[in-house]
């Protein structure tokens, strides 16, 4: 017999649990065993709904039930028998059904996100990233320690970062396990390393360039890049967990950054602090890095003349707020 349609009963993950091949209409759905599709759901009536073919297509005819039928998210009004759009999902009680009709146009075949293949393809890059990160961390540690520091102290401090990174990626991999049935540790490591390196390298480079050109704003730009890179990293992590929701996550993370950043800017401007970064450029680099000529003391002092105007507005004893109980600290990230 010709198959006219498939009615699939979907589980919570959207996977078919039970499939009915339909060779003739109408199809009665309900809990009673004389139905064509028998559902084991206490929230479904013995005779819950009927699918009937009319001239213009397939219609759903709900019976008078407690929980009714929802088409997509909208409940079907009592008495109406709407037309079912192609590949539509409807919910009877707590059971979701998908109806596919013969001759429907199918979506094109999607490329499989084969994590194993992905990892294999990026293995070399990943190795390079790990190596680079190891060298970078070592350099940072060497820079900030005095000669003759005890080896074990150095080792602890050196290993704490990779240990943290492993835990971070393992947690994400567990997430992948839940949503994708794959412990995608290396993929998450790849994502984390890439964006962390983008963050720290651009921050460091921005400091150096800012010093070289005497342009503190470049250092501030570095801070912004740092935050964006971290946001990007988070987005890539969740994207690996739920690829179908990437767009939603992008919107969520972007709004979190925008709202958080906005609040921070407002707070800083209320406190008369620089909107981004520190009060002044704190980087001192090698003598050869400096690219600009120094000015004379008098010229420097003259260039500070506009401060008077800014400060006169800042000095106004406004709105009686006595904000002398400001907590200490206050990095902007």
């Amino acid at each position: 017999m010709e198959t006219l349609a498939l009615i699939e009963t979907l589980d919570r993950d959207g996977q078919p649990r039970q499939v009915l091949r339909v060779s003739q209409w109408p199809v009665r759905i309900g809990r009673a065993i004389d139905c064509d599709l028998v559902l084991d759901d206490p929230h479904v009536a013995p005779h819950h709904a009927t699918l009937a073919w009319r001239d213009d297509g397939l219609h759903v005819e709900p019976a008078a039930t407690v929980n009714g039928v929802r088409l997509g998210r909208a409940a079907i009004a009592p008495g109406s028998t709407p037309l079912l759009p192609p590949s539509s999902q409807m919910t009877l009680g707590a059971t979701t059904l998908r109806v596919r009709l013969a001759g429907e146009v199918l979506a094109p075949e999607q490329r499989l996100l084969d994590l194993q293949q992905y990892e294999r393809r990026h293995a070399v890059t990943l190795m390079a990233l790990i190596l680079f990160a190891a060298v970078w961390k070592g350099f940072e540690l060497w820079l900030s320690t005095m000669p003759g520091t005890q080896g074990s102290v150095l080792a602890w401090s050196y290993l704490s970062a990779p240990a943290g990174l492993v835990v971070w990626c393992a947690l994400w991999a567990i997430g992948s396990m839940i949503f994708q049935r794959r412990f995608a540790f290396w993929t998450h490591l790849y994502v984390a390393l890439t964006w962390l390196l983008v963050a720290v390298v651009s921050e460091a480079a921005a400091g150096q360039i800012a010093f070289a050109l005497s342009m503190p704003s470049i250092e501030k730009l570095g801070r912004v890049v740092f935050v964006l890179a971290i946001a990007m990293m988070l987005w890539r992590h969740v994207g690996l967990l739920m690829p179908s929701r990437r767009r939603a996550f992008a919107v969520a993370i972007a709004s979190a950054v925008a709202v958080g950043g906005g609040l921070l800017l407002i707070d800083r401007s209320m406190q008369q602090q620089p909107l981004i970064g520190d009060l002044y450029l704190g980087t001192i680099s090698l003598p050869g890095v400096r690219q600009v000529k120094p000015v004379s003391a008098d010229a420097f002092v003259k260039s500070a003349a506009p401060l008077e105007k800014t400060l006169s507005t800042w000095a106004k004893p406004d709105d009686g707020d006595d904000d002398d109980d400001e907590p200490e600290g206050g990095d902007d990230e």
Binding site: L143, L279, I284, R290, P294, L307, L311, E326
Partner: protein
């Protein structure tokens, strides 16, 4: 700042304790200096209490004559002081709780009283929250009105709002004529009501003016305690020579008096003035601006001292009215070696509990990073540069606003930051900090910082320029 942390010493002001007694101060003084009730607060034991022995009986005769004289003069001081000394109390406007107490001396027959500015500062700055009251030793009380103040020398005049009829009969304190200067070593007597426990006469010695102090202060070796602020200091004939103002917390019997001439000048200027009803801020700013002008002019006129460093000339001030301390880290240190010098003024002008102003500080650190290499040295130097605190917005001051650039002075290129903060209640006054670090060498350098508090914008610029021009690069000998 790095080096400060290493030394465990913060760049702070000298621990001068002003003598108005608030609850906290009194408790602190008790805990810190004298266990309650154990040490008499009075002057050193007089010869009358010396145990006499038969062997020195002859000398005892002479002594007892002296001691009789001394005791008599102390008695006379007590008799002169008792009716004329008052306790000046700051009370909450709507309650009878006292916020702080000090002392005062009756200097006008209409009830004019001389005291310290810091005793009445809360009333001067926040009249909507506080009011002033007096109490005589024999228990007469009444309200006081603020008449005038000299914030720079920490003096104020207040007047009884409704002088009791008996006030004229109390008499007033006279001033010792300026022509009759005290000799060092002379015995003088400080009066006041320490810690709110009662009328006290403290005997001590006049030691001339405090050395290297921009604002003249008498060095009095005698025990002053919180609550005695504003009380008079008398010579042996009961004439005012000074006013109690402060003591050093880290010393013993090292106390400071405002010389009487400033009090006389204030009285001459304002004895007949009407009580102040409006805001004191404009007048206070005017006085501070005059002070900073004198300070700036005098400071800029002084040449910088010669420094011994091989490659750098660093601006180090003369010690005319500043005091410098130096230090360095142990030579076997494997990291950054440094030497530092820290110069500051002893006197800062009290405005309120959280604001002192009107002083300068200069310090520098010379780094030798030859054991570190260029990259690590740059890292350490940057850390030191970055760690400098510039303050943040407070009740009294705006947040800092900075200007930064590479600056060259006499062949030495430096990274320089200048940050200013404006006074929110004292128009025209600023704090300025100039931070500068040399960027000419791979493994050595110098970082200097100059701070001026309570200067005009123009003088801030003058001082900053003067300071930066004190740096120079020296050719190796």
């Amino acid at each position: 700042m790095l080096l400060n942390m290493l030394l465990g010493r913060r760049f702070g002001r000298l621990p001068v304790l002003l003598l108005a007694a608030a609850l906290g101060l009194a408790a602190c003084a008790r805990a810190g200096a004298t266990p309650p009730g154990e040490k008499p607060l009075a002057a050193p034991a007089s010869p009358t209490s010396k145990p006499s022995t038969a062997a020195s009986a002859a000398q005892d005769d002479a002594d007892s004559e002296d001691s009789a004289n001394l005791s008599a003069s102390a008695r006379r001081i007590y008799d002169i002081g008792r009716p004329r000394l008052l306790q000046v109390r700051t009370l909450l406007r709507d309650q009878d709780s006292q916020a702080s107490v000090g002392s005062g001396s009756l200097v006008g027959s209409d009830g004019l009283i001389l005291t310290n500015y810091h005793v009445v500062s809360q009333v001067a700055l926040e009249p909507q929250r506080y009011r002033l009251n007096f109490q005589t030793v024999d228990g007469v009380t009444g309200a006081l009105q603020l008449v005038a103040f000299d914030v720079v020398h920490d003096l104020a005049l207040v007047r009884m709002a409704k002088p009791p009829a008996t006030v004229a009969s109390r008499g007033i304190f006279e001033f010792r004529p300026q022509s009759a200067a005290l000799a060092q070593g002379e015995r003088i007597f400080s009066l006041g009501n320490p810690l709110d426990v009662g009328f006290v006469v403290v005997e001590g010695t006049y030691n001339g003016l405090v050395e290297r102090s921009f604002l003249p202060q008498i060095l009095f070796s005698g025990s002053l305690n919180p609550g005695m602020s504003g009380g008079p200091v008398l010579d042996d004939r009961g004439r005012i020579v000074g006013v109690n103002v402060a003591t050093r917390r880290d010393g013993q019997q090292i106390s400071f008096l405002v010389p009487a001439e400033f009090a006389q000048a204030l009285i001459a200027r304002s004895a007949n003035a009407k009580p102040i009803t409006g805001s004191v801020e404009a007048e206070m700013a005017r006085q501070l601006l005059a002070h900073q002008q004198a300070l700036t002019t005098r400071f800029i006129a002084l040449p910088w001292r010669e420094t011994k460093h091989a490659h750098y000339s660093v601006p180090v001030p003369q010690e005319d009215f500043m005091r410098c301390w130096g230090s360095s880290n142990p030579s076997e240190s494997k990291g950054l070696s440094f030497e530092r010098s820290d110069c500051q003024m002893d006197t800062a002008i009290f405005i309120n509990e959280s604001l002192r102003t009107g002083d300068l500080a200069v310090r520098h650190e010379v780094y030798d990073g030859s054991k570190l290499g260029a990259l690590r040295f740059a890292q350490e130097a940057g850390m030191s540069f970055r760690n400098e605190g510039m303050g943040r917005r407070t009740h009294d001051l705006s947040a800092p606003k900075c200007q930064e650039d590479f600056v060259e002075s006499a062949g030495l290129p430096m990274r320089t930051v200048m940050c200013l903060r404006a006074y929110r209640h004292l128009p025209g006054l600023y704090d300025v900090a100039v931070l500068s670090q040399s960027v000419d060498a791979k493994t050595e350098g110098v970082q200097g910082r100059f701070d001026a508090r309570g200067v005009s914008f123009q003088n801030a610029m003058l001082l900053a320029s003067h300071y930066l021009q004190g740096f120079a690069w020296k050719r190796s000998p």
